[in-house]
């Protein structure tokens, strides 16, 4: 569906993205992750034919985004960041206008507009002025707009930014449903969302692709596989020293809460040291009130890969 070859974009000599290479296959939901300024919006804008690349090629549904821009645009639904909408129109009016612009056949316009309103739960606000809508509704109007001409591909730039947790959940479910019939490329900062919806993830940092894989593989690859949290009453023992002796434990950070001490253990990838800890605790007669394994999350992957040095 999307093929990107050596895509580069420079703004006034400074490269925003450099030599990007990736593919998104039909039916995939691809997550596009990266710190702010990494180049996500730039890449999406190039794919949406908003601006041409400085060099390289990109094709959408087989059409080159620069040379065959009109056909490429007809096959994709794009939702820009911060969803810019005409605030002087009403929701239905706006969707009718967009449907006509996207080439939806005249007799099907009412039907399609009705369908997308249903899909994005816009029926309650269909006659409201867009200026009067809350952010959540605006986002949904943007999403409805992207769906109007039944495109095979959806490109969504930060679809859940600024939404409250309920709305995020709704949009997430919507995207998951859409993923069954459309190919989706979405960019986001909200990592749990990516873990839940995306089949593959691209991590982009300073204009280059750092990783491109399924969430599971990425989690498996990183060195720090989460860790173990222990809260125990160790009495006179030096808990950290003892814990470090267990094989597989790389480092221990100690924290005091009166009698109880919290130990945060960094563990070798794949090693499960909880049993060892339990044996140690029973041997030493420590009281334990918490022993959990913190699973590695995509956030760990992200932080590790991007080092978040850009603030």
């Amino acid at each position: 569906m999307i093929k990107v070859e050596n895509l580069t974009k420079r703004y006034a000599g400074q490269p925003a993205i450099q030599d990007l290479n990736f593919e998104v296959g039909k039916g995939e939901i691809m997550g596009f992750l990266g710190p702010n300024g990494a180049g996500k919006t730039t890449t999406m804008r190039i794919l949406a034919s908003f601006m041409p690349p400085t060099s390289g090629r990109a094709t959408v549904a087989g059409f080159d985004v620069f040379a065959q821009s009109l056909q490429a645009r007809a096959h994709l639904g794009y939702m820009p960041e911060n969803v810019p909408l005409y605030s002087d129109m009403r929701v239905t009016e706006y969707l009718n206008y967009r449907a006509a612009l996207k080439g939806v056949p005249h007799r099907r316009v009412t039907e399609r507009v009705g369908d997308v309103k249903e899909l994005c739960s816009l029926k309650e606000v269909e006659n409201k002025l867009i200026a009067a809508l809350s952010k959540g509704y605006r986002q949904r109007v943007g999403l409805a707009d992207a769906l109007l001409h039944e495109p095979d591909l959806l490109i969504l730039d930060e679809p859940t930014i600024g939404l409250d947790p309920n709305q995020i959940r709704q949009v997430r479910d919507l995207i998951k449903n859409l993923g069954k019939q459309h190919t989706i490329l979405l960019s986001t900062h909200i990592l749990p969302e990516v873990e839940m919806t995306c089949s593959r993830v691209i991590i982009i940092h300073k204009g280059r692709i750092e990783a491109c894989d399924t969430p599971e593989s990425l989690l498996g690859k990183i060195r720090q596989a989460g860790g173990v949290l222990l809260e125990a009453k160790v009495g006179a023992d030096n808990g950290a020293e003892e814990l470090k002796k267990i094989s597989g434990v790389r480092d221990v950070i100690e924290d005091s809460d009166g009698d109880w001490k919290r130990f945060s253990l960094r563990v070798e990838s794949g090693a499960d040291v909880r049993e060892e800890i339990f044996r140690l605790a029973t041997a030493r007669q420590w009281s334990v009130r918490e022993l959990t394994q913190r699973r590695a999350t995509l956030e760990d992957v992200f932080v590790e890969i991007t080092h978040s040095d850009a603030v």
Partner: protein, 251 residues
């Protein structure tokens, strides 16, 4: 063409959704009304050689209002879309750039023509009340409205060009105001400067909007200004189109 009409109808509707349209309408109709009133009351007091309609279209009031409305009508056309970011969904929809540019131009033109409908009624009312025609002949009406159309097209296209060059509406208004006023004054030079040779005077007369309106409002339809304004409009629109396309590269 359907997409062009969709864009066009949206443009015209959006004019009437914005307060500036009503400000321009009121301002313009106020001045047109005052102009008409003054011309008629002037004629009430003495004999004149010209008709009401000629007086109306050649007076100071007319030109003053006329030159001022164009920046106001056109400043938001492109500049607002750039500023608000609504240019992004517009341009990423499968529409061609010429459809966008021309729909904005013709949207402005339609709004401008709507502005000129009420003054037409002044002449009808005058004729009804006084029993005398407001103009020499039908040709005079035709001429003056034709010149309005030509001048409108040209100045609106200048306004479009100004608007596409910037994100800031005020700057767009200033650019088009300066350009239109300068062009307008080109026609006045012959009256202001005395030591201009007659050749220069003639040359400047070809460009003078005042002279053009003068001849057309007397019913003399000269093809030279028609060609001048039509071709200049096309040039301005072509430049607007190029500037619009170039924004992709300028980001």
């Amino acid at each position: 063409m359907r997409k062009f009409y969709t864009l066009l109808s949206r443009e015209v509707r959006s004019y009437f959704h914005s307060p500036i349209a009503y400000v321009v309408l009121i301002f313009f109709l106020l001045i047109a009304g005052v102009d008409f009133y003054f011309q008629v009351s002037f004629m009430n007091q003495r004999q004149v050689q010209y008709t009401v309609q000629e007086a109306f279209f050649n007076s100071v009031f007319f030109w003053f209002a006329f030159v001022l409305i164009f920046p106001l009508i056109t400043m938001r056309l492109f500049a607002e879309e750039f500023k608000l970011g609504t240019i992004e969904p517009l341009v990423t929809a499968p529409v061609r750039d010429w459809q966008v540019v021309l729909s904005k131009f013709f949207g402005a033109l339609i709004f401008y023509l709507i502005l000129w409908i009420p003054p037409a009624f002044y002449f009808i009312i005058f004729q009804y009340i006084s029993g005398q025609p407001a103009a020499h002949s039908a040709g005079a009406y035709l001429g003056s409205y034709l010149m309005l159309l030509l001048l409108g097209m040209f100045y609106l296209s200048i306004g479009c060009l100004a608007s596409v060059l910037t994100k800031n509406q005020i700057i767009a208004a200033i650019i088009s105001f300066c350009a239109i006023t300068l062009l307008f004054f080109l026609g006045l030079v012959q009256f202001i400067l005395y030591d201009v040779s007659s050749a220069t005077r003639d040359l400047l007369g070809y460009f003078s909007a005042i002279e053009h309106m003068g001849t057309f409002s007397r019913g003399i339809i000269d093809t030279r200004p028609i060609i001048f304004y039509l071709s200049m409009t096309v040039v301005m629109l072509a430049l607007t189109y190029q500037a619009f396309q170039s924004r992709k590269w300028r980001l």
